[in-house]
């Protein structure tokens, strides 16, 4: 839903966008910011500085500050004199913005990836969430809220392991 506008225009901007996009997510370091889909734009300014647009997963997500600092550091190390990271809310981020590769890595990391979007907010629990450990579809919800704002806590009734589920937003 956000790919109608390119993240970067010129070659240099594309290069910088790739660098910024390669920064790992501070809470789920298996995912890069590009795979998470939170990088919205990279623009060169006339003064040689760079503007970066970043969108939060949740409005109150505390990781956004660490993301901004990491992007600033990576681009500064690349020789950009001044980096300004801006938080943009619109269009709102959705779990559908996580790339296919990102979903694969989440599952590999032990976090059940979000299901494709149905409507806004909660998805009926009848749609099954697969256990990222043993692959069973026999899983149950323990809590709608878990270790971070974006996850719910579930348990596999086959292998008995609890696991996080990246809940649909």
């Amino acid at each position: 839903m956000v790919t109608d506008a390119p993240v970067a225009q010129t070659r240099l901007e594309q290069e910088l966008a790739a660098l910024a996009g390669s920064v790992p997510d501070p809470e789920m370091p298996v995912l890069s910011l590009a795979e998470l889909g939170v990088l919205r734009g990279v623009r060169m300014r006339e003064d040689g500085g760079v503007d970066v647009d970043l969108t939060p997963t949740y409005t109150g997500c505390p990781a956004i500050e660490a993301m901004s600092a990491d992007i600033e550091r990576v681009l500064t190390d690349h020789g950009i004199p001044q980096v300004s990271v801006h938080t943009v809310l619109s269009p709102a981020w959705s779990t559908d913005d996580i790339s296919a590769e990102g979903r694969r890595k989440l599952a590999e990391f032990g976090i059940a990836p979000p299901r494709p979007h149905a409507s806004d907010g909660p998805v009926p629990v009848s749609l099954t969430v697969r256990c990222p450990h043993c692959g069973s579809t026999e899983t149950e919800l323990l809590s709608r809220f878990s270790s971070t704002a974006c996850k719910a806590l579930r348990r596999c009734t086959s292998c008995r392991e609890p696991f996080d589920h990246f809940k649909e937003l």
Partner: protein
């Protein structure tokens, strides 16, 4: 249509936006703080995490809104009680768990309807609303599940859920009074809220509370800066660190 005309806030010029952002931002900030008070006290670990997560969502919304009204830290930490514009409902103390759930049910049903409405418009709150409506859907889900579980639970849980709903009922009318700069039809919002609430309460086998929802001698003036007695103490706790150490940072 008469009701619509009297309750629909006039679509105001840009000058009304900071004041409107302050009102909505104060709701989110104050409820966030109240929910944060559960940390270390919630009945089970999962609820500790759930309430803190909901508080975090609200804090995020508050930060965006207060930044539209001025400096977020100054607004949160350096205002006196009478300058806060939040609803009296959100400042009410936590009480027992059922009391908190009753407050969550009333407020999150309202807030979800409000964000839905604002997300559909083109106003200054539309970008935040589009994001917040999805977060709030989970808050509604949480409150509804618990209301049904407690209301249709044991004799004791039913009694407590009932008591929480009754005690907070008189603060619910204020949510639908017009706020200048917030372009929603309060009367229509209220009808939808009542319908959704009725549905939840019938699933919880509870009767809707009785009694006035507004017009009581003190309830319903939070938007004008008139707050209930427990609010001052909450603010003292929320602000004292910032006021004691001006300019301190991590």
């Amino acid at each position: 249509m008469t009701a619509t005309e009297t309750t629909h806030a006039t679509p105001a010029g840009p000058s009304a936006v900071p004041a409107a952002a302050l009102a909505l931002g104060d709701d989110a900030l104050v409820l966030s703080h109240r929910l944060g008070e559960w940390a270390g006290h919630a009945p089970v670990l999962e609820e500790e995490v759930a309430l803190a997560n909901i508080a975090l969502d609200l804090l995020g919304q508050a930060r965006v809104l207060l930044s539209m009204a001025g400096d977020e830290d100054e607004l949160a930490f350096l205002r006196e009680e009478r300058s806060f514009r939040n609803l009296q409902l959100v400042e009410q103390p936590n009480g027992d768990f059922a009391h908190t759930i009753a407050r969550q049910l009333y407020f999150s049903l309202y807030q979800h309807l409000l964000w839905t409405e604002l997300a559909a418009g083109q106003g200054p709150f539309a970008p935040l609303a589009a994001k917040a409506v999805k977060e709030t859907a989970y808050h509604v889900d949480h409150a509804v599940q618990w209301t049904v579980r407690l209301g249709d639970g044991t004799e004791e849980s039913t009694r407590r859920m009932r008591a929480g709903l009754d005690a907070l009922w008189k603060y619910t009318g204020e949510m639908f009074r017009p706020v200048e700069g917030v372009d929603v039809d309060g009367a229509a919002l209220e009808q939808r809220w009542l319908a959704e609430l009725d549905d939840v309460l019938s699933r919880a086998r509870l009767d809707p509370p009785e009694g006035p929802r507004t017009g009581a001698w003190r309830a319903g003036a939070g938007r004008e800066g008139l707050h209930t007695e427990p609010f001052g103490r909450m603010l003292a706790e929320m602000q004292h660190l910032h006021r004691s150490h001006p300019g301190a940072s991590w």
